[in-house]
Point group: C2
Chain length 143, copies 2
């Protein structure tokens, strides 16, 4: 059986400047499960008493959840693509219950080498940029 890659999902169909988005509320369940998956038990994420006594006044989501959401957008637009690298700065806290809009913009591509480059960032429900960076992917050839 041949590998199926939908038409319109290959690198040749993507252009510099293409902007893709996805919006998701970061729930308490997301944070609890992510803590279990990764072992990241930072009290800022899992200890409400601790977190409420910090300047944040409440529990934060793991910032890396946002990175996962950003990578998920690339996967949706280029299924079968492989993430080669990413770099993200965490600019502002993400609170449990925040609704993030994740943005992926194509910043470059090298069709010869099947490489594609992205600017990536997330904004919260108030339009505040909470994280920003870049990523590089290897896109599988259309079969």
């Amino acid at each position: 059986m041949a590998t199926i890659v939908s038409e319109g999902k290959a690198i040749v169909d993507k252009n510099v400047g293409d902007l893709w988005t996805f919006r998701k509320t970061i729930t308490d369940s997301d944070v609890s499960l992510f803590a279990g998956i990764t072992g990241d038990m930072n009290p800022l994420h899992i200890d409400g008493v601790y977190a409420s006594n910090t300047e944040f006044k409440g529990r934060l989501a793991h910032g890396v959840i946002g990175v996962g959401i950003l990578v998920g957008i690339m996967a949706r637009e280029l299924p079968g693509g492989v993430l080669l690298g990413q770099s993200v700065k965490f600019l502002r806290p993400v609170f449990i219950g925040d609704t993030l809009t994740a943005f992926v913009e194509v910043s470059g591509k090298d069709e010869e080498k099947d490489l594609i480059f992205f600017r990536i960032w997330c904004e919260n429900q108030d339009g505040v940029k909470v994280m920003a960076g870049e990523a590089q992917g290897l896109v599988r050839k259309r079969k």
Copy 2:
């Protein structure tokens, strides 16, 4: 109630060259839950038929899970610390069932500004480096 930060958990107790590790098997459950948390439904992660027809011959874990594990080590050594940024290159695939050892090494610190810098990487059960990069954290002052 005062915020509790355990003795020995402040930036002044950490030194350049300190190396911390954590080992974890990446399970099918981890990958399924991570897909749901992030929306990353790349067929390489969730479609066994698709994945088995690629050069990988099977489903891969999301590389960002490894990033979360690395950040979790920092949280364990410096609870209450805030991740300011990270940059990771994904060098080799991580398969479901692989056992990753995550390494965090203190590469620098600025006690004046409460900043700490890390080299980070993960190896699989064969000692192959599957991802590598760096991270920066802001460590809360001991209270």
